[in-house]
């Protein structure tokens, strides 16, 4: 079987949808966070495949940047979640509704 661009994109779309589903459905902040990372990587996969099939390196360079920034972002996000847990003794989104009037 010849693997084409559409296959990669389908995988990327499935990954993205799974991540989105996780963000919307799951209750634990850590899991939501992981789902977010999944969506990020779905985008990365799409970029890499476009880059490969267009015979250009721009997309792959961009992916490196995204991975770097994502690493920094994960560090900050995890720190925030830990800080939040310490303050509220919970990491469940149902308990974090102080934005409600």
């Amino acid at each position: 079987m010849n693997v084409g661009l559409e296959h990669y994109l389908t995988v990327s779309f499935l990954l993205f949808a799974l991540g989105l589903l996780g963000v919307v459905m799951r209750r634990n902040l850590l899991v939501i966070y992981m789902s977010l990372e999944l969506m990020l990587n779905a985008a990365n996969l799409a970029l890499v495949s476009f880059s490969r099939f267009n015979d250009k390196l721009d997309g792959q360079v961009l992916v490196f940047f995204i991975i770097t920034v994502a690493a920094a972002e994960v560090a900050v996000g995890l720190a925030l979640i830990v800080a939040l847990y310490r303050k509220r003794q919970t990491a469940h989104v149902e308990d974090l509704t102080s934005m409600k009037l």
């Binding site: 963000v23 919307v24 939501i32 989104v93 149902e94 509704t97 102080s98 934005m99 409600k100 009037l101």
Partner: protein, 624 residues
């Protein structure tokens, strides 16, 4: 025209002085007083210089455009200008001259008052406004100054605002004046719509060249304008505020409520005489005559020294208005001028008595003051003789000219009224005179009365001189040149003998004065209480209670007004606020509450909606 700057300076110096006092010298009482006195005396000198250079017979305008709407010939053009002719120049002399004497007098009168500086600031503001009325060359400018005069009168009547009666009197004066001013404003609008001009000269020309305009203006336009004069000059039925205005300090009564402001109405009638047709003049004449009779009757039974003079002022204003109505602006202005002299004199002398009596105003507490206060006594006598119309004092000349005007117009009813009022005037004036200055001391304060200081008696003497000789120093000549086309200038001797040419009115006036003085003498020489109520019975009570006009207004107009106010309150509270505003407010509130439910505070709901939004945007962008 030489020295055009002088009238401008005269007009604006008092307002500068008022501003300077209010902003800088409010703490320094005597400095403030001197600034104010300086401004008005300088104005008087500048007016004299201006008249010396140009004479009385000029008739010019100097103006700057203040407001212009639309194209130049057809649109609304309002100037800020000065009209300089015999009429306004004489009035300037009165305002700055008599006003100056009163300013100087106030320096002594207000000496013990802790708000002396504030008093002089207001006095200067008033002088500015009054000069503005006198000098304006169009209706709008006059109306603005007209209102300013109302405001400064309000401030000065309520000068002792901690007294409730003074605060009430100030309000009453202001409201009653506003009532008249409303008519005045409507009249101005009518003039504008009929003549498309608001400049006095412009309107006069328009009326002269086109009878159609005069017709469209009609009687109503004239009477609406007269409403303004009715308020300011306190004519029936708006006369009720003037006696109450005596709650203000006595110099204020002399300056505003005798010599100048109340004369503004008469002045305005003379200035706009061309607007009135025969019917309007008739109404004006009868209102004036009725006011003068009514006020003279009330004055007979008053016991407060200032109120008696106040009602006398009302009565004399009625005289002037009647003279205008009898198409005699010259006698009206003549009487206005002499009245300014002798009535200011009477008020200031009364003020001197009040100070001497330590703020006692009831004449039945006084008595035998002629020995204790000789200067006040003699100057008061001059004023009283002038007011009663005894020749050769100034009042007799002007009063005779009004009587002669009534005869000339063959209005025998008003002539009779005027003669009767002249007798009453002499009667109540000398009733006051005998009770206050003759007989026995009726209280301890009267025995300990003392003469006022020089700063108060000097203005009295100056005014007394003019009250005595005002009849033949050329006032008639000057006004004559304004109103009478072929006018001959008379020498002083001719002016002294002028009444003899018209012997009928002169004899009538003289007889009336003699009868009045004689009756007053026989009734009031050496009495300790008023013998009149016993003789007149119910009439005296009615006179004493001012013919119940205050009570009548209270029961009718004020009640009706309160009723309308209640209805309006209900409409405002339930319809406007409850229904109209309530609907808008309630609607907004409801929508807000509904939209608030969207804010769940749940992170994932937000994320889901966010994604949904992106999906919708993507569909809209890419889907088609």
């Amino acid at each position: 025209m030489k020295y055009e700057i002088l009238p401008w300076l005269t007009l604006f110096l008092p307002i500068f002085s008022a501003a300077a006092i209010t902003l800088f010298t409010l703490k320094h009482r005597n400095v403030s007083a001197l600034i104010s006195i300086g401004a008005i005396v300088a104005g008087f000198v500048m007016t004299l210089v201006f008249i010396g250079a140009n004479g009385f017979q000029i008739n010019t305008e100097t103006a700057v455009n203040w407001l212009s709407i639309g194209q130049a010939p057809s649109g609304l053009q309002i100037d800020f200008g000065l009209k300089l002719d015999a009429l306004s120049l004489m009035m300037m002399l009165i305002v700055t001259g008599v006003g100056g004497a009163i300013h100087i007098y106030s320096y002594g009168y207000m000496d013990e008052d802790r708000s002396k500086a504030r008093f002089f600031a207001k006095l200067s503001l008033f002088t500015f406004s009054m000069l503005g009325i006198v000098l304006s060359n169009n209706f709008i400018e006059m109306f603005i100054f007209w209102e300013l005069v109302g405001v400064s009168s309000y401030l000065l009547i309520g000068f002792w605002f901690e007294k409730p009666s003074a605060a009430d009197a100030a309000k009453k004066a202001f409201f009653t004046n506003r009532l008249g001013d409303f008519g005045f404003l409507l009249g101005i609008l009518m003039v504008w719509s009929a003549a498309s001009s608001l400049n006095f000269a412009g309107v006069q020309d328009a009326l002269k060249w086109s009878p159609a305009i005069a017709e469209s203006l009609g009687t109503i336009g004239g009477l609406l304008i007269f409403c303004g004069a009715m308020g300011k000059s306190a004519q029936f039925p708006l006369h009720v505020w003037l006696p109450d205005a005596m709650e203000g300090p006595t110099p204020v009564s002399a300056l505003i409520h005798a010599a100048t402001m109340v004369a503004a109405g008469v002045y305005m009638l003379c200035r706009t005489l061309f607007l009135f047709n025969a019917d309007a003049l008739h109404v004006i004449a009868y209102i004036g005559g009725f006011t003068s009779l009514l006020a003279a009757l009330i004055a007979v039974q008053q016991n407060d020294i200032k109120r008696i003079i106040a009602y006398s002022t009302l009565s004399q204003l009625g005289y002037m208005v009647m003279a205008v109505g009898l198409s005699g602006p010259t006698p009206a202005m003549f009487h206005l001028t002499t009245h300014a002299f002798f009535k200011a004199l009477l008020f200031l002398a009364a003020g001197s008595v009040i100070i001497g009596m330590h703020h006692e105003q009831d004449i039945w507490q006084m008595g035998n003051l002629r020995k204790k206060m000789p200067v006040t006594f003699w100057t008061f006598l001059v004023g009283a003789l002038a007011l009663s119309g005894v020749p050769p004092f100034s009042g007799s000349y002007s009063k005779d000219s009004i009587l002669a005007q009534a005869l000339e117009q063959k209005n025998y009813l008003l002539f009779g009224v005027a003669v009767f009022v002249a007798a009453l005037t002499a009667f109540y004036t000398f009733r006051l005179f005998f009770v206050v200055f003759f007989g026995k001391e009726k209280s301890k304060a009267a025995s300990h009365a003392h003469e006022s200081p020089l700063v108060m008696t000097l203005p009295l003497v100056a005014l007394a001189v003019f009250a005595a000789i005002g009849g033949f120093i050329g006032i008639w000549n000057n006004y004559g040149s304004q109103f009478i086309a072929e006018h001959e200038t008379l020498s002083v001797v001719q002016q002294v003998l002028e009444p003899l040419k018209n012997i009928g009115p002169m004899l009538a006036g003289l007889a009336a004065a003699a009868v009045g003085i004689f009756v007053a003498f026989s009734l009031y020489k050496n009495v300790t209480s008023d013998p009149l109520p016993a003789k007149l019975g119910g009439l005296a009570t009615a006179m004493k209670n001012k013919f119940y006009f205050d009570e009548l207004y209270e029961a009718t107009f004020i009640r009706a007004h309160d009723f309308i106010a209640t209805v309006m309150d209900v409409i405002d509270r339930w319809f406007v606020e409850g229904f109209c505003i309530g609907l808008v407010r309630g609607g907004t509130d409801f929508t807000g509450r509904a939209l608030r439910l969207v804010q769940t505070g749940n992170l994932q709901t937000y994320a889901f909606l966010f994604v949904l939004g992106v999906a919708v945007v993507l569909y809209l962008v890419l889907g088609k």
